[in-house]
């Protein structure tokens, strides 16, 4: 157990400098965006005096390194700054906008995991059967489908032709109740399909490898029931792979959700980003990217910790349990 805690601390110590470097990189990258944010904020009719005044209020007249110092100091207290456009704290804006994005990403993850793993297991158990061939063909197509095209096809089919589901928009659960689920069906399907394909294929090939191992033969020779062998012995060993894929999947889905939100006009991080870029609203782009980077690093940290929980062979470095 002591080793385990040490391992956790080591992973955290690895993440902190990484997060710091990323934040610094993002800060200076944002400063490279052409155009003066004060001028963009005031619009084309602004006078030089007005621009200077606003620059002073925004703190843009200070040397870059001072701006960076102030910004980093605020960041440590969890303050992402003030949006030039909305005149509201970035924290609040991101907090309202991240909810739909998180909702889509989390629902898609759960659905992909359940369906993807199930398809992969069925495929592996019935290897080279008709079912297996069908699943392999299906998942090959799923992996190749561009999700934005799929989203448009789904809109055309279920929204425009059949009129079963709304073509775009978003309701929170408080606003729409069960109706709000209807707005999420198409975006979630569009994002999840690719991930289901990838997961099913990975689980299938890993299971196929595991089922050829000696210990499976031993278990069979001992006369254990087939399902015990498959679930307790074989599937346990594919969990690691599932974990790795889930970590990568989440990163891909955050990117996917941004695009999907644009297509379905969902007021999430994607729309916020695109609007912020046209308005040169540094604070929002910066803050949004930092939230995503940190979320990603935390996800990776959790995946690493879960590795150690699932697989006792993962060594914690110097000592072992």
């Amino acid at each position: 157990m002591k080793g385990f805690i040490k391992y956790c601390i080591r992973r955290i110590l690895y993440i902190i400098p990484l997060a710091l470097v990323m934040c610094t990189l993002i800060f200076f990258l944002m400063r490279l965006i052409p155009g003066d944010p004060a001028a963009a904020y005031l619009g084309p009719g602004a006078t030089v005096e007005e621009i200077e005044e606003i620059s002073e209020i925004m703190g843009l007249d200070k040397p870059l390194i001072v701006q960076y110092g102030i910004w980093l100091g605020n960041l440590f207290t969890g303050d992402l700054g003030q949006s030039f456009h909305y005149r509201e704290p970035v924290n609040e804006i991101i907090f309202t906008n991240i909810k739909p994005t998180l909702q889509i990403v989390l629902i898609s993850t759960v659905i992909s995991l359940v369906i993807g793993v199930a398809l992969g297991l069925i495929s592996a158990f019935k290897q080279n059967s008709l079912v297996d061939r069908f699943i392999v063909t299906l998942t090959t197509a799923m992996m190749a489908v561009p999700f934005m095209w799929l989203a448009l096809v789904l809109i055309l089919l279920f929204g425009v032709v059949l009129r079963w589901l709304p073509v775009a928009g978003y309701r929170t659960f408080a606003e729409g109740g069960l109706e709000s689920i209807k707005f999420l069906v198409l975006p979630v399907i569009a994002i999840a399909i690719t991930q289901i394909g990838i997961l099913a294929r990975v689980v299938r090939s890993r299971m196929a490898d595991v089922l050829h191992q000696d210990y499976i033969l031993t278990a069979k020779a001992k006369g254990l029931p087939v399902w015990t062998i498959l679930i307790k012995h074989a599937f346990r060993n594919t969990l690691i792979t599932v974990l790795t894929v889930t970590g990568m999947m989440l990163a891909a889905m955050i990117g996917g959700a941004v695009i999907i939100e644009i297509i379905f006009a969902i007021p999430g991080m994607g729309r916020l980003f695109v609007q912020a870029i046209t308005r040169r609203d540094y604070a929002i782009i910066q803050g949004g990217m930092i939230v995503i980077v940190i979320a990603y690093l935390v996800i990776n940290f959790i995946v690493d910790i879960l590795y150690a929980v699932v697989d006792p062979r993962v060594s914690y470095g110097s000592e072992r349990r």
């Binding site: 990484l18 470097v21 990323m22 990189l25 993002i26 990258l29 944002m30 490279l32 965006i33 052409p34 080279n128 090959t140 197509a141 992996m143 190749a144 489908v145 561009p146 934005m148 095209w149 448009l152 096809v153 809109i155 055309l156 425009v160 073509v167 990163a251 891909a252 955050i254 990117g255 996917g256 941004v258 695009i259 644009i262 297509i263 994607g270 980003f273 695109v274 870029i277 782009i285 990217m289 995503i292 980077v293 990603y296 690093l297 990776n300």
Partner: protein, 301 residues
């Protein structure tokens, strides 16, 4: 007899040993083309490449030719096989020019990422000191989802084909470098590398004659999958308004432009989307087939 000759002789012996093994197998081309889907994939890829190269000869209209009187004509209209868009531009002609942009970018990105990623990966796999730093940098670059990284970089650089290329290279290189490094780490410990080292084979010789051929197959597969990935990422960035600039048609920006007209002109998004889908599918199938050819465990299954 100098060292290089000794190395050469050992290599010949090893090659002979390998060829005995290879003799038992069928030729890789035979295995590859046994699957009719792979043949179809190759035909599609070759077809799109052909269309891309000879675009000006094949397209019946220039890509920007607008005819406001024949707007949103459905596919099959006389003179417009795949219909026209909201400005009366011929969709087929735009698709032909779009193939040029999409494939040009993807080929360029794949080749650059391949060269850069493999070089960095091998270097990282061989040098313990550099490894630590390089892996931290790739960790960092990979801690942003591709679309978000693209969004930030394009905001800084501004939309143009060159910048799009830079963004895609930055996004994909760490992923290829990781695979190359992992494979190098495995190969590095192999007995035949130790053998060449013990005979004072030069580092260049080890890298080009021993490491590169042995890590090539997973990387070729990776690059195959990446080709499709580059087309899709370009399309995804187009949806954010930061793909290829509007004046240069690509499959990605034709698809993203078409989304507004989904009710009145479904073909505007279905046609480019299907072209992208088939391209990704073809490269994935080819990649899968190449993996199966290179993976001896797959034989006999």
């Amino acid at each position: 007899m100098n060292t290089d000759d000794a190395v050469w002789e050992t290599e010949q012996a090893l090659a002979q040993d390998m060829s005995i093994k290879r003799g038992r197998r069928e030729s890789w081309a035979k295995v590859l083309f046994r699957n009719p889907l792979v043949i179809l994939s190759c035909i599609y890829i070759a077809g799109v490449c052909f269309v891309a190269v000879f675009a000006p000869l094949l397209a019946s209209y220039p890509p920007h030719y607008t005819d406001i009187y024949s707007r949103l004509l459905p596919p099959g209209s006389p003179g417009h096989l795949l219909g026209t868009d909201q400005l009366g531009r011929d969709v087929l002609s735009r698709m032909i020019y779009g193939a040029r942009t999409s494939f040009y970018i993807s080929i360029l990105v794949t080749v650059s990422v391949g060269a850069l990623g493999i070089t960095i990966g091998i270097f990282s796999g061989l040098s313990r000191k550099a490894d630590e730093i390089i892996m931290r940098i790739t960790d960092m670059l990979m801690s942003l989802p591709p679309v978000i990284a693209g969004l930030a970089l394009m905001a800084v650089l501004g939309p143009s084909i060159t910048n799009l290329f830079i963004v895609l290279v930055v996004v994909f290189t760490p992923r290829v470098a990781r695979v190359a490094r992992g494979e190098t780490l495995v190969v590095r410990e192999a007995t035949y590398i130790k053998a060449v080292q013990s005979m004072k084979g030069s580092l260049g010789r080890i890298i080009f004659k021993h490491i590169l051929p042995n890590i090539a197959s997973p990387l070729i597969v990776q690059l195959c999958l990446m080709f499709g990935g580059a087309i899709v990422t370009e399309a995804a960035l187009s949806f954010l308004g930061i793909g290829s600039p509007p004046e240069i048609p690509s499959w990605g920006n034709i698809l993203s432009d078409g989304r507004i007209y989904i009710r009145g002109g479904w073909w505007l998004s279905i046609v480019p989307g299907t072209a992208i889908f088939l391209a990704v599918l073809a490269f994935n199938l080819l990649g899968d087939a190449l993996r199966d050819v290179n993976d001896p465990r797959q034989y006999g299954r």
